[in-house]
Amino acid sequence: MLKIIIPTIMLMPLTWLSKKNMIWINTTTYSLLISLISLSLLNQPNNNSLNFSLMFFSDPLSAPLLVLTTWLLPLMLMASQHHLSKEPLIRKKLYITMLAMLQTFLIMTFTATELISFYILFEATLVPTLIIITRWGNQTERLNAGLYFLFYTLAGSLPLLVALISIQNLTGSLNFLLIQYWNQALPDSWSNIFLWLACMMAFMVKMPLYGLHLWLPKAHVEAPIAGSMVLAAILLKLGGYGMLRITMMLNPQTNFMAYPFLMLSLWGMIMTSSICLRQTDLKSLIAYSSVSHMALVIVAVLIQTPWSYMGATALMIAHGLTSSMLFCLANSNYERTHSRTMILARGLQTLLPLMAAWWLLASLTNLALPPSINLIGELFVVMSSFSWSNITIILMGANITITALYSLYMLITTQRGKYTHHINSIKPSFTRENALMALHMTPLLLLSLNPKIILGFTY
């Protein structure tokens, strides 16, 4: 694992020592190389995990997330080039350093064995993200957004720290490799109910669960493009990953403790999808769509069946790539019109046909068109929730319909129809942007050929 972590840490000296015209080239190239190294982790033995050391391991759940994380860093760097082009050199280097630092923490989080180490790194990802949102965001509301983001996450995760330490007192070790074998049923008592709550609330806030999702639209909208990308693609998945790991220890309370959260998620996915239909702000629409997809993941994780775990993992990867791509597309609009309002930049298909193709592909994967992995994820979740309770099929079906509705709404509003008269002087699509979209889309399409690698450890 050091072969991935040390190069990522060394990306920071790389940026500071590069010449002015080489920073983007150097960092993008090397981060692509690092993502190539991480691909080797996808070769997972069947019923075991790859244990690299006492501190780092990777199993079929964390390997795809790790590959996604390392894949996303070059994409984030490519996406940030335009809005940073006018900044002084030191600020560009600071930005890239923040991204590299965030990347390091994320890689270490996904591969941590010891749960307290996971916790520290989970919290550590907050600091660079806060700095990216607050320092390089564009509107006044970013201050409020940063505060909401920081405090929602911290208020949820401090009880997690206490819970982890008390579990460590009970069992002697929080090393994940040991816990797999130690697993005993948690005795039924009020304090264990609070333990369950304390463990799960941090991840519920991070996912986010419907009632605690207030930070997400703020943070996603106010963040610069790299911030939005990493937030949507990876940081939300930290919550899902943590939940998948911790629920292993929390049986059998999960059987009855999960009900309120299941209800909130099932209702929340419909509510947030419906709100998407009424959004005027493009980034806000994509942010609420993230909440909706993540609600599906929460449902899947709380049901705890093998198929639902497969669906959750696949959905996390698929949503990561799709959401990140949608944010890149929205950003390409923003860079041209400096406005996030959807109707201000419509009819783009006439002006930017290639970008319209990417918009089409992104919207189609967002609405879970077969045979994309989004569909595989959603389908597995729908099927397992149907077996959990037959009635959920109504809500799931409604959700899929509304998702299709708002994805197509977004597509049609921005792409089709007559273009507005004030955007006929926008710059054509850069090769960089097209490459960005292609690099998002290609893994998504290729994975539909072999989804086995993203189906997680219950395959």
């Binding site: 919290e123 700095i131 607050t134 940063g146 208020a155 206490v162």
Partner: protein, 346 residues
Amino acid sequence: MNPLILTIILMTVFLGTMIVMASSHWLMIWIGFEMNLLAIIPILMKKYSPRAMEASTKYFLTQATASMLLMMAIIINLMHSGQWTITKVFNPTASIIMTLALAMKLGLTPFHFWVPEVTQGISLTSGLILLTWQKLAPMSILYQISPSINLNILLTMAVLSILVGGWGGLNQTQLRKIMAYSSIAHMGWMTAILVYNPTLTMLNMLIYIMMTLTMFMLFIHSSSTTTLSLSHTWNKAPLITTLILITLLSMGGLPPLSGFMPKWMIIQELTKNSSIILPTLMAIMALLNLYFYTRLTYSTSLTMFPSTNNMKMKWQFETKQITLLPPLIIASSLLLPLTPMLSILD
């Protein structure tokens, strides 16, 4: 001040604390406290103004009262044990009175009222000495009598201090008052763990002193005592704003910075002793502290503060020298991986 006089006075302050920390006779400890108190009054009054006079008077009155209470507790202890050696306190009344006296010296709730007002009235350097060095002597006595302290009183004071330190700092824009409330909150954390594991109190004290030292050094460098004037540092020394950001987040207890280490260790120790609600409550209340630190970073490092062109050029009559800033910065932000080394504090 005449350098010779200043040296003598500082030496007396130093000697006072050393006498407190090294003595085994209760009377010598009391003498040490008094020496410390008397010698620090001129330091508090370095810039001679009515406000400084008010601050030093308040400080003198509270500390003298605390010393008298301490003397009473010592006498009661003498009455019940017949000897002056500092081991444990032999009588619960004496222990309670001593705890209250030392809490008054430290600035724990409900005896915290003097801390913001005194810190505000004195110069930045004096405030630095007040908030760091002056805490060493009472804390060392608390450390030595820790087996016989009444847990209820101490924990109540600790939790209330964290609450007051968090809530009180929310409405402040004066940097010295912000540091004062931060000191109250950190003292609360330190005394909460005192009965369970005094080593962690020492660890927390060490890290707190390093972080507060760093913060004050950064403030002294930009000669800023209000949030507004701190927000102009981006113009003169942009690197200082980054350092302020890092140190403030470390004071707030964010991982992976070293400010998280004492909080983590304290939560761990409290949980091992089967109190679960208490550390959760303490951790949530520390978020209040984090809020006003984050607000400070917003105006300093993370945004461009709107200011007229006049305000961008602050008068700086002499460049202030910051001693030892690089090691302090590293100590206040990067020490978390060294957590296993805290066994050296035993």
